[in-house]
Symmetry: C2
């Protein structure tokens, strides 16, 4: 480790940056030791080869993140950073690189053509560079918000980490074009909630749900299905915690895992262990959809709040569980064996409250559709005051976790709680949502929903690559907009979702027909997907569909289970009136005391280059 010398000045002029006066960033020299792992509670492998590993911690007080990047077998350098949706273009980056003689570290950004430029404001602050037997470690920190317009704003929800290896020395940073690099992407929730771990009961038991000895198929994507069962006569327990068990060496392959409970009505589910899309898969597995546990890459153990647990076992509850493991194997590695799964921690000392899961958002129906070629079309589902008034206890319910869900065109999801026509707080928001990264996330703040409150779930879709309208439905090419909220105490309300009134949609088709010279099929025998498929998508029909969804009354699903509605009139319900909207938080930009130098700093990375 070497503190940057005055040669950094030469480096700056070498890279053509005309900086009259600049400061050398202080590099804290922690002599001879890697910061202990405990300082970095979060850890994720970045690339499938295992060349890059990231650990980090979050300070909500200082509003910054410390990153510890471990580089195995360093070549000529490395790029690491973040971008809106995981592209190496338009990314906010740190770059470590060498010109073959010296090595440098800088805060940079890539433009939309992939050209890399040094930031005028250096917000990634290098704290330590160290060679260890395991590789080179870079310790650096960055504020959540830098106020540099070229920088990514680190928000709650998904962050798309991007990275690439530099194989050859460079004359200058501007010599890099990301188009010539092999791009890497890893999605993660960087801003993990800062929640203290609830105490576990003394009688805690564990149950490992894992598919034993799976041979991971040599294809990029596999969803592996495995059926297991609870012991006969297994009584009612509370699951209070669960954590992933990932087979050593397969950390970069196991992308996400979920345990589903089968429907209580099934008296028997045949054994199965194989790809979920296998022709051999028994049909009955389709009735195993009740989520018990879910984990995704980068997530840690999931703890229920101390006063609640998820009931399983006992009468009225299926003994059959389905484990689903998503293997992400872009290198198409063959013959790798895996026995990953989830370890459930459960107790017979039932906690005060049963936890429940409720579905918010849109009903799975084709009446909710997204025109093709839209970059950010928003669909909104409501849980109305009438439903919460009827179905929630007087003291309300407490939402402590949330799992957002859409299919392939989903880009953002948010659920907002409104009361008396005013948006009050965000239940969960992900501005960089990816359908490929669906975690159950603990909320940073428990949200209490009272009877009469309204829950508004909005999903933003990108259908630029679609030729026809994308309608709502179960199919992977259809869309969903769902927030599975985890709450307690459990109520009968399992599903509080909406869709546009189908009669008003028929008025829309009639109107689209009238406004356009082309023939639009409004024949009553045509299905809604067929009707949507024949709408000519000019600006008028797009705008009017938006106007329809913002105006037409709702068909409400205020249901005890997916098929049983609460008693009451749920058709032609008025759209909740929202008078006051929550404003998206505007970053509070600190007053800048002095300009940081627009120059990389020189670092010593030892003799391990090339």
């Amino acid at each position: 480790m070497q503190v940057p010398s005055p040669n950094a000045r030469e480096a700056a002029s070498m890279y053509g940056t005309a900086v009259a006066i600049f400061l050398v960033i202080l590099v804290a020299a922690l002599q001879g030791s890697v910061p202990p792992k405990t300082l970095f509670p979060y850890h994720i492998p970045l690339d499938p080869e295992g060349a890059l590993e990231l650990s980090w911690n979050v300070s909500y007080i200082q509003k910054n993140i410390h990153f510890l990047l471990l580089v195995h077998g360093l070549q000529a350098g490395v790029l690491f950073g973040m971008s809106d949706r995981g592209e190496l273009e338009g990314a906010d980056l740190v770059v470590l690189w060498t010109d073959g003689d010296r090595a440098y570290f800088g805060d940079a950004w890539s433009d939309n053509k992939g050209q890399i430029h040094l930031d005028t404001q250096q917000d990634y602050q290098l704290l330590q560079v160290q060679r260890t037997p395991g590789g080179l470690t870079l310790l650096f920190k960055r504020p959540f918000v830098t106020c540099d317009p070229k920088d990514y704003v680190i928000e709650d929800g998904t962050v798309h980490l991007v990275f690439a290896i530099l194989e050859e020395p460079l004359r200058s940073l501007e010599d890099i074009n990301t188009a010539r690099l092999k791009p890497g992407l890893q999605r993660v929730q960087l801003l993990k909630p800062n929640i203290s771990t609830p105490a576990l009961p003394p009688d805690i038991l564990t149950m490992d749900v894992r598919a034993p000895n799976v041979v991971i198929p040599g294809v990029e994507t596999t969803y592996w299905c495995y059926i297991t069962e609870l012991p006969k006569g297994f009584p009612r327990h509370h699951i209070v915690m669960y954590e992933p068990i990932v087979t050593e060496g397969n950390e970069a392959l196991v992308h996400h895992m979920e345990i589903f409970q089968c429907a209580a009505e099934l008296d028997r589910v045949p054994s199965f262990s194989g790809p979920c899309d296998s022709k051999m898969k028994p049909d009955r597995l389709n009735f195993c959809r009740h989520v018990l546990a879910a984990w995704a890459l980068g997530a840690k153990a999931f703890y229920y709040p101390e006063e609640a647990g998820l009931a399983f076992g006992g009468p009225g509850s299926s003994r059959f569980l389905r484990l689903e493991v998503h293997y992400h194997n872009p290198l198409k590695i063959r013959d790798r064996r895996d026995s990953s799964g989830i370890r459930l921690y459960y107790t017979a000392m039932m906690r005060r409250f049963d936890a429940g899961i409720m579905e918010l958002g849109l009903v799975y129906t084709p009446v909710m559709a997204i025109p093709p070629q839209e970059t950010s079309f928003i669909l909104t589902g409501y849980c109305t005051d009438k439903c919460t008034q009827l179905a929630l206890p007087p003291t309300g319910i407490h939402i402590f976790a949330s799992q957002l869900h859409t299919h392939l065109t989903g880009r953002k999801v948010v659920t907002v709680l409104a009361r008396d026509g005013q948006e009050k707080e965000v239940v969960n928001r992900d501005n960089h949502y990816s359908p490929h990264f669906q975690e159950i996330r603990m909320l940073k703040k428990i949200i209490t929903v009272h009877p009469g409150d309204v829950l508004i779930t909005s999903c933003t879709y990108n259908t630029q690559d679609r030729k026809l309208a994308t309608v709502g439905g179960f199919g992977i090419l259809e869309e969903m907009c769902v927030n599975y909220v985890h709450y307690y105490p459990q109520t009968q309300l399992e599903l509080c979702k909406s869709a546009v009134d189908p009669g008003f949609l028929q008025k829309y088709f009639h109107l689209a027909n009238r406004f356009n010279s082309e023939e639009v099929c409004t024949c009553p025998q045509a299905s809604v997907p067929e009707q949507f498929a024949s709408v000519p998508w000019n600006s008028f029909n797009r705008d009017v569909l938006r106007a329809l969804y913002a105006f037409a009354p709702l068909s409400m699903h205020c249901n005890k289970s997916s098929a049983v509605r609460f008693p009451g009139e749920w058709e032609l319900q008025p759209l909740p009136k929202i008078v006051t909207k929550l404003e998206e938080p505007v970053p509070q930009c600190p007053v800048i005391q002095g300009q940081q130098p627009a120059a990389p700093i020189e670092v010593s990375i030892g003799g391990n280059r090339g």
Copy 2:
């Protein structure tokens, strides 16, 4: 004049502002002399009593304005500043005030309730305070853009200057509530164009067009009409410049003046001098609408570009001129005499080009309407590529000045030039447009329009105080969206405006009928204003009207005069497709080297208080 002493520290703490470290702003002490008037080319009286006068200059290089505020008969202080539309609430202010003992100057802002607060960032920089026999002068400067979110951004176009007199000493700035002050408002173009004055020809002649010896009526608003005529046989000349002649002492009463030429078809126009709304006014005056010259408060002389002049006199041109003077007399002063008018400078040495005036924007027709209760509804008028292709010379025309025009609900106006589907440049933009302040403004940059170019004029309206839709038309309660552009060389094209196709509007009425349970009149015998009056203005009908205007084909008016179209098909014309839009300029916020103190500075204002 006294340089602020260290007592400013005490003042700061007295006002409860906890500033740990702060700097005393340097006040430049110009000993014993008011800065010469020539340093401040622009001048305007602020209040009708003549207590406040403002002079200013603009530096486009330093991007700031120097203000010289003259206060006659200072009482306990004065507020001066700017706000979006002239309210004292939500304003960006400088305040000079006394606590009865000391006097202070500070950069402040008023919240929406009228409470005044000191800015954390002091961007109005006081340069000089001086007592002269004429009163107290305050010299201060401010950048156009301060990057303080509480501050007004000084843009091109109208600025609403606000002011008020403080009559009593204050314990602190927070004691002021604007609701208890008498608000003052003066509209002005602060950012005057920085154009060098074209040379005048040696044979220059002048003609004063003024209404002699008018007794200004003792009412707030009078439009005075006066008919005069050119000498018999007056040959063709070029007007190359004109300037206001305002009777001394009436500077605050004469709000704007225009000279119109009567229609050439009228062989005789009777003499008249009286209010324009007088029952005695001859009807023929309604045919005197061709603008020759226009001036408004704060404007200086208007110069034609050196290669062009406005033709008047000679055959085919009316000898009769109408002068219109708008007297703004809020104090209802009686028996004040006035002979204000405009001095035309003209030459017989005809310049190379005749200048012309062309109308852009919307046709005066009720098919273009604004729903009631809208805060910012936009209507857009087009001058299409087909029309400019047909009517403009191959070398194009050069627009050098522009006068924006709407009726009472107009709030913003902008004209943009587009070429090949891309918006290229702004012809004229006013984000704080007021129908009460319609100047001819020289453009900062001459805009060349080529055949095939498209000119897009958009007006933003506020109809919050209307119960029914506001339709397009000539009436003062109807609306217009017009940009009168002054250009050369003159062409036959007098009018290039559009409206929505009336057939598509009928489809809209039909649709509004179908979507609403209420009965909407779509009977063909009803007039368009009657149809609009019966639309139930729910969100759907508002959104669909917007969608209609953004989609439906145009009825184009590509006219030689208001009644004669160029040959060609002008109905059902496609809406110009704009692929790339101009982005509104984002203020480039300078890097702040150190925080300014959030404290007022103490000033000496001599013994003239109370």
